[in-house]
Every structure is written in structure tokens, then in C-alpha cells.
């Protein structure tokens, strides 16, 4: 975290310049190469003091909309949130504490979902809690099989 330096100057240009410097031609490619990293971690890798996580998020959404890969992005975001909140994977027993962590992860996921997908994310979350995945389940990318059944690609 810095003192708001991320928002100074042309940060969008700065963001893409850093992505190119690291050898990627899109933010999506950069992010997919780090599928479990949080938005904050991605931002820190791009610019320790002058890139914010939400800027990465905004860029990813913009790219996904253009390439009609929003559902994939939403799945990818689930992976990041779950990894951050439940580093050892899906809890074996859903007691109060474990349920709270799952709930927080699902809350973060929902918050990071563009409006048009919020309802689907809600249904997927319902399904996940109604039929919990095996203990230790930890999707490592947007192509995880279970994750794809929960939130299949819709876009043409």
C-alpha cells in the first residue's frame, strides 16, 4: 500500500507499459499466468508503489468485455478469492468459523462480479453451499472442471 500514488498521472498508460515490460501483450495474459494471485499481489508485481489492485481489476474487466470472456474472468476471480480466504482449500467441516471464511470469499467474489453476471454468481454460490465440493478442493485456474460446471461459458 502506498499513499495514493497509484492514482497520480496516467495510470492506465503506466499499467499497460508495465504489462508490456514483463512480456505480455494483455493484462489478461499477465493475470492468467498467475491464476491464484490476488489483485493486490498482481498490482504489486506491476508496480509496487504506483499500481492499485482495483486498477488491475478494471483493466481485466475491460479486456474481458472486449474479448467476450467475462465468464472466464469471473471464474478466474473466484479462484483468486478462494485462494486468499481459504489457502488450504475448501474446509472439511463447515463449522461457524469455516463458514464465515467461505462467506467472506463468496462476498468478495460477488463484489468483484460485473452487474450482468451477479445473478449467475449468486446461483453458483447457492449451488456450492448446497452441494459442497470435496474437502481440500482448490481450483487453480478458470478451467477447473467443477468450477466450469458451476459457471459455464455462455458467451458466443
Amino acid at each position: 500500500m502506498t499513499d495514493g500514488r497509484s492514482w497520480k498521472g496516467n495510470w492506465k498508460a503506466r499499467l499497460y507499459e508495465r504489462v508490456r515490460e514483463r512480456g505480455y501483450d494483455s493484462l489478461t495474459a499477465f493475470a492468467e499466468a498467475r491464476p491464484t494471485a490476488s489483485l493486490v499481489a498482481l498490482a504489486e508485481e506491476l508496480g509496487r508503489d504506483d499500481i492499485a489492485g482495483v486498477q488491475v481489476f478494471g483493466g481485466l474487466v475491460a479486456e474481458a468485455e472486449r474479448s467476450k470472456q467475462l465468464t472466464r474472468l469471473v471464474r478466474g476471480q473466484f479462484v483468486r478469492e478462494l485462494y486468499a480466504c481459504l489457502p488450504t482449500g475448501w474446509p472439511s467441516v463447515l463449522d461457524d468459523d469455516a463458514r464465515l471464511e467461505v462467506a467472506i470469499a463468496l462476498g468478495h467474489w460477488f463484489a468483484h462480479t460485473p452487474e450482468i453476471h451477479k445473478e449467475r454468481v449468486d446461483r453458483a454460490s447457492d449451488a456450492l453451499l448446497a452441494h459442497p465440493p470435496p474437502p481440500g478442493w482448490q481450483p487453480l485456474g478458470p478451467d477447473d472442471e467443477l468450477l466450469r460446471t458451476l459457471l459455464p461459458d455462455e458467451e458466443a
Partner: protein, 510 residues
């Protein structure tokens, strides 16, 4: 320098002698204060010299044994403060948060201790019955005692808030948020600190008045009443600013404290000198004279008061010097190295500002008789406090230097959901108005509007929506009300994601 030290020693000797037989009831011994480093030639006054150094300022500033332990810890373990990479709970960040919390707890405890002593002094004064044929602080003077208890109420409130925040900080489970909460204690701690010191000074004036009333039948009661009224008037604006607990007002009042203490010292000295003259005129017996003199010995103002006789302003021109034992004034330790270390931690974490600590050191060192309103500390002392541009920048409420101090304040927790937050424990010292941040216009627009992404529709990352979506959804999925700590932990994640520093200041609700 040597001559100054010698002069100081002579003066200390003079005053020390005067107080030997007259100070049985002072009970203000302070175990921590190192022995005066006065030259062996003067050891014929072993009596109460050691207690001198700690008598000044709120006992808040005096030390305790624990601090000796803390002092031995590595000096650089707080440098990671505010560093986003310390997200993990085990890094230097967590340790630094713990040591900052420890420093806040100790500072709070010390102010509490001073306040307790001040309160005790008030009740003792109030309880003293007017002896036969004598006056005491009764009748019209009771209003001056009441003035004290009025202040005590808000001081306790401020300390209570600081404690509540410190407790919350220990439970929040996010290092950056913990430091953010600890920084919120700063203005409260600072206000209580200096408020208690002013109150202790007021007690000195009341002691003096009491002594005058009892021992100087020829002194004018009306004049004394007026004098006290004037002194009270001098303290009032500062006390009001401190009681507001508004970071900026507290900071301004704090940095002006040395000047105020200078004025109060002058008042005290004048009052005492006039009394002495009147008593001499009336041929008062020595014992009565000494009773009035004695008040000086136990006074908070002792270090800054000009010594009489001879009326040489001993501390004038004696600079503050950093030594291994602490900050020295001549041969006397004004504040201990342990105290400096505690302050360094608070300064580095952004809890207390450098100007506030400077003011405390100046007062403690008796450097209040200079004409300047604000005098900076010598570099050696500032270095010991860990002063530096980044430290000054962190304490954004400071008037000087911080470029953000004019940027508008914004609520971190959306005001339209005030009630929701209230129901989950955001009340009192932790209501949502306490969680405001200063943001540059561009930054503020960006977090609400997504900057220049030009998505052509509502930005999915809009701050209020983002955090309320996360909170509402988490609560619904958890199936129970979120606690305040969980909410703060969730919000902390977004503050990091949006690059909003956790420097919370109070703002006005709508």
C-alpha cells in the same frame, strides 16, 4: 555549557536545600529518575535531587521498569509500518503493530496514572478544612476546584476511547488495519496527555493559592481570586481545543503548549513573588514564607520557573542534548532514553506527531521561557525520535508539511448505511464518522467512477457498491450478523485494493 551546568547545579542546590525540611508530605518520589549527574562537589545535598527529573510533565512521561526491556529490542523493527507487503500476519508488520500497540498501551496507562494523581490532588485540596481563623480553598474558590473536575470528565472519556480503539486493534486480525486503528488513538492520547499536564499545572496554582490563603493573611483575597481567574482564562482555549478531540485542533493546541507553559510559568512566578513581598512587608515568620516557597518544589512548573533567590533564569540558554541516558538539559535528564524510545515507536507508526513530541520535550526540559512560539528540537534529539520526511508525511493531521491536509475528507464506510454499521458495533469512538480519509479529488473520483476506463456504464468497481456488496453478501452467506472486526478485516482488503492509506480521521456525518 560547563558554566551553564554549574549554574544549574548551584540553583538546584539552593532550591534543594530549601525544600529538605519542608517537604515531608510530598510523596512524589520517582524511582525511575536517574541520579543527577551533578559534580561530586555538590553531593552535600543528596536529599531529593533524584526525584527532580521526573516531577515535571504528566507522570505520563516518566518511566517504568518495563521500558528498560523494550529499549533493548532492535531499533529498526518498526520501519515497515504502512508497508503493503506485510499483509501476512507473521512478518515484520505484525511485530511492528504489536510493539506499536504496546507503546500505545503504555502511554495510555501513564496518562491514566498522571490523571489519577491529579484527581487525588483535587480531592485532597477540596477536603482540606479551613483551619481556625484561616482561609482555605472554600467559598468563592470552590469554582476553581470544580473547573478541575469538569476537565477530568472529558479526559477520562478520551482515555476510554483510546483504550477502546487499542482493544479493537488487537482483535482486528489485519496488520494494516490494526495500525490504522492505533493511529486513531493519537489525537485522543495527545489531548489527554497535554490536558492532564495543564490540569496538573492548575493544581499547582491551587496549591499556591491554598498556601497563600493559609499563610498570608495580608495578601488580598480578591487579588488572588482575580489572578486565578486570569490564569484559568489563559488555559481555557487550549483545554477547549484539546477537549474537542479534533485532530487538527488538538495538534495546534499541542504545538502551542510550550508557549502557554511559558506564560503560565511567568504567572506562577509573579504570583509567588508578590506574595513573598507582601509577607516580607508584614514581617511574616520564616515558616509561613517557606510554606509558600514549598509549593514551587512540588510544582509541575519547577523546571521552567526562574529560581529565587537568586532570580536567575537558570534554564535559559541551556540547550537540549541527546545522550545515552536520554535528553539532557545541562546535567539533568529531561526525558529518559526509554521515554524517547517509546515516543520513537509512536512517531514512526504515525500515532503521535513529531511536533507534539517536540512540545512535550520542550516542556519537560523547561524550555518554555523562550520568546518563540515554536522551537524545533536539536537535530540529535529529532534523530532519536526517528524524525524524517516520511514520518512527518504519515501524520497527516499535522499542520506543517503534509500536503494532504487540505484534501477533502471522505467516509470509508458509506453513510447511507450508517444504521447497518451501528447495529454491528460502529458506535462511539468507532462510529463511521471516525473512519474518514483524506483523498485527492482525482483519487476520489477514480474510486467512485473508475477513472478513464470509459466503460460506458456503471463502473463495477465503484467503492460504495463494492464494499457493501461484499459485506451484505458475506453476511447473508455466513447466516449471522458480521462482527465489527470481520467488517474491518473485509474493508481493509478493499482499502489495500484501492490504495487508500489507513490514516483515519474523524469527519462530519450528514
Amino acid at each position: 555549557m560547563r558554566a551553564d551546568a554549574l549554574l544549574l547545579a548551584v540553583v538546584l542546590l539552593a532550591t534543594g536545600c530549601a525544600s529538605v525540611s519542608q517537604a515531608p508530605g510530598r510523596g512524589r518520589s520517582l524511582s525511575y529518575a536517574p541520579r543527577e549527574a551533578s559534580s561530586p562537589a555538590w553531593v552535600e545535598t543528596p536529599s531529593d535531587e533524584p526525584s527532580r527529573a521526573g516531577d515535571l510533565l504528566p507522570r505520563a512521561f516518566s518511566g517504568s521498569e518495563q521500558r528498560l526491556l523494550r529499549r533493548q529490542q532492535p531499533r529498526d523493527d518498526v520501519t515497515a509500518v504502512g508497508d503493503g507487503s506485510v499483509e501476512g500476519a507473521v512478518g515484520g508488520g505484525a511485530r511492528s503493530a504489536a510493539s506499536t500497540r504496546q507503546a500505545v498501551v503504555e502511554a495510555t496507562d501513564e496518562v491514566k496514572g498522571s490523571l489519577t494523581r491529579v484527581e487525588a490532588a483535587f480531592s485532597k485540596l477540596a477536603a482540606r478544612p479551613p483551619a481556625l481563623g484561616e482561609w482555605g480553598l472554600t467559598g468563592v474558590f470552590t469554582r476553581y476546584l470544580d473547573q478541575g473536575s469538569k476537565q477530568v470528565t472529558w479526559l477520562h472519556g478520551a482515555l476510554g476511547s483510546a483504550t477502546a480503539l487499542t482493544d479493537a486493534a488487537s482483535e482486528v486480525g489485519d496488520t494494516d488495519m490494526e495500525l490504522g486503528l492505533l493511529r486513531m488513538t493519537g489525537p485522543k492520547l495527545q489531548a489527554a496527555w497535554f490536558g492532564t499536564h495543564l490540569l496538573a499545572t492548575w493544581v499547582d496554582f491551587l496549591h499556591l493559592a491554598d498556601a497563600v490563603l493559609r499563610n498570608c493573611p495580608m495578601c488580598s483575597v480578591e487579588k488572588l481570586f482575580t489572578d486565578l481567574h486570569r490564569v484559568q482564562g489563559m488555559m481555557e482555549p487550549t483545554l477547549t481545543d484539546l477537549a474537542s478531540l479534533d485532530p487538527e485542533r488538538v495538534e495546534a493546541a499541542t504545538t502551542a503548549m510550550p508557549e502557554l507553559m511559558g506564560k503560565l510559568t511567568r504567572e506562577f512566578d509573579t504570583l509567588q513573588r508578590e506574595t513573598r513581598a507582601t509577607m516580607k512587608l508584614g514581617g511574616q515568620i520564616i515558616a509561613a514564607m517557606q510554606a509558600v516557597e514549598m509549593v514551587t518544589m512540588i510544582s509541575t512548573l519547577k523546571m521552567s520557573l526562574p529560581r529565587v533567590p537568586p532570580s536567575a533564569p537558570a534554564t535559559l540558554g541551556v540547550g537540549l542534548v541527546m545522550s545515552s541516558g536520554g535528553v539532557m538539559v545541562g546535567s539533568r535528564i529531561a526525558v529518559s532514553a526509554e521515554w524517547v524510545e517509546m515516543m520513537r515507536r509512536l512517531v514512526q507508526a504515525g500515532v503521535i506527531s513529531v511536533p507534539a513530541v517536540s512540545a512535550a520535550v520542550l516542556i519537560q526540559g523547561g524550555q518554555v521561557m523562550m520568546a518563540q512560539a515554536y522551537q524545533d528540537l536539536p537535530k540529535g534529539v529529532r534523530d532519536a525520535l526517528g524524525d524524517g520526511p516520511e514520518v512527518r508525511g504519515m501524520h497527516e493531521t499535522g499542520r506543517a508539511g503534509a500536503g494532504m491536509s487540505d484534501a477533502p475528507k471522505h467516509h470509508v464506510l458509506p453513510q447511507e448505511h450508517r444504521e447497518w454499521f451501528e447495529q454491528r458495533g460502529f458506535k462511539g469512538a468507532m462510529d463511521i464518522d471516525q473512519f474518514c480519509v483524506r483523498l485527492e479529488q482525482a483519487h476520489h473520483e477514480a474510486i467512485h467512477g473508475g477513472g478513464n476506463w470509459q466503460l460506458g456504464r456503471m463502473w463495477p468497481g465503484e467503492w460504495n457498491r463494492m464494499i457493501m456488496d461484499a459485506l451484505f453478501k458475506a453476511e447473508a452467506r455466513a447466516g449471522r450478523m458480521l462482527t465489527r472486526n470481520t467488517i474491518l478485516r473485509i474493508v481493509a482488503a478493499y482499502l489495500k485494493e484501492y490504495d487508500i492509506p489507513m490514516n483515519f480521521i474523524p469527519g462530519r456525518g450528514r
